[in-house]
Every structure is written in structure tokens, then in C-alpha cells.
Amino acid sequence: MSWRERLHLLLKEPIIPFLMVGAALFGLQAFWSPGGSQGSAEIVVSDEQAATMVKAFVRTWQRPPSQEELQRLFDDHVRTEVLVREAMALGLDRNDTIVRRRLRQKMEFVNEGELKLSLASNQELQGHLMAHADSFRSEPLVSFEQVFLDPARRGDRLNRDAAAFKAQLNSKGQGLNPSALGDPLAMIESRWSEERRSELVAQFGSTFTDALLEQPRGSWVGPIPSAYGMHLVRVSSVKPGALPPLEQVLDAVQRDWQADQRQDQQEELYRQLLAKYSVRMPQP
């Protein structure tokens, strides 16, 4: 089988036409062949290695390599091979932290990759959902309005002003525009609709958000403190967080379940490998 035929077999992607053009460009005779004499160490760039290099090139550049580029790839490969062999002969690979980490990483990838994790049954997924309810529960959604009172501006008047605004807002109800009262607060809206709790924590801080959730609905209350100052608030609704039915979070649960499975398999693999060794270590 010629290397081009093998290449054809190896590469089943739409880039094949490009590759064949590329292959035609350099031709079989241009293919690198080892020149080492008998007895000396030999370096062979195999057909498969050549194909791998071509494919990597195509995936990087979205086009086949020219003859010169291919030659450079081969030359570079040979250079690496020579230096790696010499380095290993000198023992440079031993006790090298980076080499050891790379090897460890490669081992850990062995059980990944092509191995497809099986899909869980609905029953398994339901069980997983219940067991990890906290990670899947949706956040409370809060709808409210707020009027900011800046202590830096109002000082001692703040509490008196707050009481007056609150009375105004509660008596005039919808007729009054809350954003006309109070002080500006950079990049904070006065009206919030079904906002996630975590977003409110990010904007106002957790003290305010926790207090907000405790407030009665429908009327202006406060002032309650935030990271910035004091706020009058009117909470119109709080949709409590809930555990969604499996159908709604099927993909997420499946992913989570597989992540667990992946981890279990990694652990299992390690356990079996570890069993081949007896380990002694100092008391930590």
C-alpha cells in the first residue's frame, strides 16, 4: 500500500481533496527517506507520521503544505528525534519534572478521548438530580424598585428624608415616579424585574440582597443598607428557587453525571495501577 493510499484511508475528512492536491504536489519521490548506513542508528519518518504531520498542518492552516513546507516539517521532526534521542542517551529525561508531568498527563488522557461514556438512564439521572439538588435548584427571582439615599449627600438628614419619601411613595402609589426621588447611584437601575439573586448580590452586595428577600411585598419599606448607602425598596414579587423537573435540566444532569462517571473511572484506573506497587513513604 503506498503512503498516499494509506493517507486516503487515514483521513476521512472533507480536506481529502486538498490533501490529494498536496500529495500530488510533492509526489512520492519527494518523500523523505532515511539515509543512515547500516549499523548506525536509523531515523525513519513513517508514512503514518508523515500523514499526521500533513494533517496537523492542514488543521492549522486550512490548506495543504507546499513541498518546501513539507520538507521543513520532516526536517523539524528529524531534528526533534535526533535531539530527543541524544537527550535520552544522556539521561536528561530522568527526574525531569516537566517530562514526568507530561507523562502523567498522557496517562490520564488514555481513558479519555475516544472512549465514549455511556448515557445514563432516566432513572439514574433522576437519582442524580435528587442527590445533587442544590446544584440544580434555580435561583430566586426578585422584582422590586429601589430609591437610593446617599449618606455622603444627606448626612444627618438621611433618616428624616427616608421617612418622608417613604410616606410620599406609599400614599401617592403609582402616581409618583420613584426615580425622581432619592440620589443617583452609578449604573444601578431603580426598577428590577425577575432578577437572579446572584446578580443582585453582585450589584448590591449580599447584606442588601438578603434583607431584600425578607421584606413584605407591595409597599415601600426601609431604608435597608447596601454597600453604597441606604435604600427604600418595594418588592413586588419573589419567585422562590425551585428544583426543576428532570426534562428541563436533562442535558445539565447528564453532563454532571458523566463528569462523575469520568472521575470514578479515572480513580478506578489509578487504583488498579496503584495495586501493582507497594508504597512506602515517611509519616507526614
Binding site: 499526521t52 490548506r63 508531568r101 479519555e112 426615580s179 452609578a186 453604597y228 445539565a252 453532563r255 484506573l269
Partner: protein
């Protein structure tokens, strides 16, 4: 991921706010989750097993390979896995060319990113890091894709092994866009460890002066630049900005990233973003295109899978820098030449973050905002800053709750361009800044202006435009606002928000505007002084006897917005 036991899953889980076990076995969690994350693995570690995905004849030569192959093709992945486990447990056979059997690390990384991408709540952008450092000078770029795994799987990341020349990286990016229809951008790391090369207006290989093509490619593919991260500041340097009393912030520049070459004064102008923005105006005059027209962000550059930036909750730059009584003594980069060139833990900051003004929390929305430079960077604090520039602002807009809407309607956001002013028009800027709800009050808002004069020289000036306690803190004879003071107790590693402001706004009109001069304006927001991670460590681990008396125990954390450029006719 160098040296870290934790992987991609832990990085995403940590970023989403979950508690994970750190590399050193401690329980680590952010105070508040991040909204998005790019896990940019060094591409030089990728591509482990690219190439021959399935039916590799090399693999099929062995009976094990044949069995695995058949099981996989029959959809029996689990059985194949256990077969492999048994085989490995026996440990009799060598791994042959089983690289070929594995899918690439790149695809795996993409798969993990895909698992955690949850638009609206948490976005995982697909990207990697191109780790070019010729002679030890840091030219690293974080490459970020707009696209999903389906598209990014079709490429292999271009690595520094392919080429250390950034123009080759751009060629790769151009090929990705033109051949596959995707979008990709690159973000240079802060330039302070680059031996004067990050913003050198020369071709990397030939050292010839750059041309318009270079400028066009750089502007197209590098719309934003990192100016703050754990390894120091890339905004400006005291030598470049002697008038800027806040320029001496987290300067890390004894050497380059390799710890090989000492940084000399003539390198400094080519390492810092502000100077590059200035030179960009000059080069635009010369070439017709500005190569250094970029927005500003921060990022962690964390190598421990634990991206964190709070001084009192910093999980370090690398596993050795996780909280411990020893970490302050760590040497991140040990110079082979001279200990004075070491990059030591004492120099590191718990920085930084990227803020993005996007229409939503998704890959496309975030990427588009980065491409249009509507971004800001912070030294790790979650303070928020926004600026618009235009000719028609009255200043009233700033007090309205929907100011951004009117500001945008009558002007341009950060990262934008102001076109030539008509007769009598002067640009003004609407700026808002708000403190981190879990953090320190604000000291001041500043505008940094750079411009090109008629003789081709560039200049810069820093204006204080809004500050706390303005009734008591009046400008001095030099036109500068006096220091905000400090509430830090260094020994106890505490501070109080008894000084500073929770939020600041400004409407600022350029007092020295010349409609014929190219210029840029960006905003810098300073917090009041706070303790650094070193001060917290000293207190928490009771290291008063060991740690030096003098060290960077306090700092004024800050935010930088992208510039707005003024373009004369």
C-alpha cells in the same frame, strides 16, 4: 496548567462559584462567581495526539487495538475502557503509537469548555495561549474564539513551536476566519516582561520598520491588550509618566519573562500600553493605520486552575503560591543569571479582571464587545467603570438612571472613535464609576489623555475629574487633587470605608482640546488604599518576625477603561 493537579473542570467549577479542593488540599472558593472565563491552555502542551482519529492502521496492528476499535465502533465505550484498564494494569505492552489513538487535547479542552458554557449565567469562551518568548521576552497572546466547539475542533492551535513570530500567528488567525468563517482575536499579555519588544514598531524577524499591512493586521487581530495581571502592570511606568503620581503601581520589570535579560531604560518605552497608544498616533500619521489601537483589560494569568483576584482571598499564580506561611518567599521565575533578575512572590499582585459591556452573557455577545473594545480592566477589584464621549452632552444626562442610553445616542462608548470636530465643537465625556460592593470606596476618577502635536511629538496628561469629599479636597497649586489619605492598619491588615466615595460620576470637557490633533482619552479609577495579599498573609500566618518591615503591604487598586480616540479631519 503547568504543575497543577487541578484541571479544566476544577477551573470552571471554581469560576462558577463552587468550592473546590486546591492543589495543596485546601478548600477554595470565590466570594462571588465570575460571569465568564477563558481557560487558555498553553498551545505548546496541546496537540498531544492529533491526527489519526479512528481506524489507525498502526493501532489495528495489535490485537488489543483491534479489539478496542471494534468495541468502540459498536458503541461499547465502557467495555473498551475496562479492556484498556486491564491491559494497562498488566503493564506488559509498550504504548506503541497510541498517541494516534487518543483524540487531541485541544478537542478535549473544547469539550470541557462546552460542558460548562451556560449562556445567560456563565460563559466559557474557547481559547488557548500562544507562548512566544524569543530570548525570554514575553510576547504571549491569549487567542480567543467567538465560535463553538463544532468549528474550533476543525483546527489545531497555532503554537510557538510552529512559529514565535506574531505575524505568523495572525496569518493563522486570518486563515481560520477566511477558510472556516469563524472569528478569532488575540490579547497580548502585559508587555512589562518583554525586553522592550511587545510594542516595538518593527517586524519581529527582520527588525525592519513596520508597514501599513502590519498595522492593519495588528489592529484587526489584537483589539485589546492586558494591562494588569499577577505579574505586574503594563499600563505605564514612572520613567514614561513622571508627572503621573500614580504611575508607580505594581511595577515588575527587572528582567524579562525568562529572567535572562535585565530590562534597560531604552526598552521601557516599548513595553507599556500608554506609550504604545501614544506611538500609535504617530504611526497612524506615518502609515495611515494605527497598529496600537487597542482597548484595555486585566486578567489573572493564573496557572493553578484557581482564577482569583481578591487580596484577602488570593489562590496564587501557581500551585506554589497557594496560601501558606511560605509563599511570600517563593520565586516564581528563577533567573539563571543573577538573583536580582528573579521574579519573586513579593512582586506579585492579586490581579486582574476583565470587564465587558456586552448585550448579554454569551460567547458571541462577549466576543463582539471585546472586538469593539467596549471593555475595561481592573487590578482585581470588581469596581465598575463606564465612559462615553461626544460633542453634544449637556452634563444633565449623567444624573438620569438611563444615562447610558442617552450617552450612547449622542456619542460613542469606550473603544469608539470621535470623528473630526466641527467648528467650535469640543468633546466631553460622561463617566460613571461604582465601588466593588464587597470592596473599598473610590478615591477618584481620572482621564488620561494622549495626543500628537503638529511637530509629530506625542504628549500625555492625567486629569483628576471627580473625587470623593470634593468640598474638602480642593486642587493644589499644581492642579492636582490631594491624596485621599489612608485608613489601612498594615499590622492588622484592615481598612475602613470611612474615606472615599461609594460611587462617582463626571461630565468632563477637555480644556486643552485642539481639533487638529489626534488624541485618545481613557479613564482610570482609583480606590482608596487597601491591604495587599502580603499584608493579609503577614497577619493571618503571624509572620511579623519573618516578613520584611518594608514591602508592598498597601496599594490603591484601580480600573482602566478602553480609550476613545479623537480623529481630526
Amino acid at each position: 496548567m503547568a504543575g497543577t493537579k487541578l484541571g479544566l473542570d476544577e477551573a470552571y467549577r471554581f469560576a462558577r462559584g463552587e468550592t473546590v479542593t486546591s492543589n495543596s488540599g485546601q478548600q477554595a472558593a470565590l466570594k462571588r462567581p465570575l460571569d465568564f472565563l477563558v481557560v487558555a491552555d498553553h498551545s505548546e502542551n496541546l496537540g498531544l495526539a492529533q491526527g489519526l482519529e479512528a481506524s489507525n492502521p498502526e493501532l489495528l496492528k495489535s490485537s488489543l487495538g483491534q479489539q478496542l476499535h471494534d468495541l468502540l465502533k459498536a458503541g461499547k465505550g465502557r467495555e473498551a475502557f475496562y479492556l484498556l484498564v486491564q491491559w494497562m494494569a498488566k503493564g506488559s505492552e509498550a504504548l506503541v503509537s497510541n498517541d494516534a489513538y487518543l483524540t487531541s487535547v485541544w478537542e478535549m479542552n473544547n469539550a470541557v469548555a462546552e460542558r460548562y458554557n451556560n449562556p445567560g449565567t456563565f460563559t466559557s469562551l474557547i481559547g488557548y495561549e500562544w507562548t512566544s518568548q524569543p530570548g525570554g521576552g514575553n510576547l504571549h497572546r491569549v487567542v480567543i474564539f467567538r465560535d463553538d466547539k463544532a468549528l474550533t475542533d476543525r483546527i489545531l492551535p497555532f503554537s510557538a513551536f510552529d512559529s514565535e513570530d506574531v505575524e505568523d500567528l495572525w496569518a493563522f488567525m486570518a486563515a481560520y476566519e477566511s477558510q472556516l468563517g469563524g472569528r478569532v482575536l488575540a490579547i497580548p499579555h502585559n508587555g512589562n516582561l518583554s525586553s522592550g519588544t511587545m510594542f516595538l514598531p518593527q517586524h519581529q524577524k527582520s527588525r525592519m520598520a513596520i508597514d501599513a499591512d502590519y498595522a492593519r493586521m495588528r489592529q484587526r487581530f489584537e483589539p485589546i491588550t492586558e494591562v494588569t495581571q499577577a505579574k505586574g502592570t503594563g499600563e505605564t511606568h514612572p520613567l514614561l509618566s513622571p508627572e503621573d503620581e500614580f504611575a508607580n503601581f505594581n511595577i515588575v520589570d527587572n528582567s524579562n519573562l525568562g529572567g535572562i535579560k535585565p530590562t534597560t531604560p531604552e526598552m521601557i518605552p516599548y513595553e507599556y500600553a500608554r506609550e504604545a497608544l501614544r506611538r500609535g498616533l504617530q504611526l497612524e500619521q506615518e502609515l495611515g493605520v494605527n497598529p496600537f489601537k487597542f482597548g484595555l483589560i486585566g486578567s489573572t494569568d493564573s496557572h493553578s486552575s484557581l482564577p482569583s483576584t481578591a487580596e484577602d482571598n488570593w489562590w496564587g499564580k501557581s500551585p506554589a503560591l497557594e496560601p501558606s506561611p511560605e509563599r511570600w518567599k517563593d520565586v516564581l521565575i528563577k533567573s539563571s543569571k543573577d538573583a536580582s533578575l528573579d521574579l519573586t512572590a513579593l512582586q506579585l499582585g492579586a490581579s486582574g479582571l476583565a470587564g465587558v459591556w456586552a448585550s448579554g452573557n454569551s460567547r458571541t455577545a462577549l466576543w463582539d464587545a471585546m472586538a469593539r473594545k467596549e471593555v475595561f480592566g481592573t487590578s482585581g477589584t470588581r469596581l465598575t467603570a463606564r465612559v462615553y464621549g461626544g460633542y453634544d452632552y449637556t452634563g444633565e444626562e449623567i444624573n438620569s438612571a438611563d444615562w447610558a442610553k442617552s450617552a450612547c445616542a449622542k456619542g460613542v462608548p469606550m473603544g469608539g472613535d470621535l470623528m473630526a470636530a466641527a467648528e467650535g465643537q469640543v468633546p466631553s465625556f460622561l463617566i460613571q464609576a461604582r465601588k466593588d460592593p464587597d470592596g473599598a470606596n473610590l478615591d477618584r476618577i481620572q482621564i488620561v489623555k494622549g495626543w500628537l502635536d503638529a511637530s509629530g511629538q506625542t504628549h500625555e496628561q492625567v486629569f483628576d475629574v471627580s473625587w470623593s469629599d470634593a468640598d474638602q479636597r480642593t486642587r493644589g497649586a499644581d492642579g492636582k487633587v490631594p491624596s485621599v489619605g489612608s485608613s489601612v492598619n498594615v499590622r492588622e491588615a484592615t481598612y475602613t470605608n470611612t474615606i472615599g466615595a461609594t460611587n462617582l460620576t463626571a461630565h468632563w470637557t477637555d480644556p486643552s482640546f485642539d481639533p487638529s490633533q489626534k488624541a485618545f482619552y481613557y479613564v482610570r479609577v482609583l480606590e482608596i488604599p487597601t491591604p495587599t495579599w502580603l499584608a493579609y498573609d503577614r497577619k493571618n500566618f503571624n509572620l511579623y518576625d519573618e516578613m520584611p518591615d518594608k514591602a508592598p503591604y498597601t496599594s490603591q487598586e484601580r480600573a482602566y477603561t478602553s480609550p476613545i480616540w479623537y480623529n481630526p479631519a
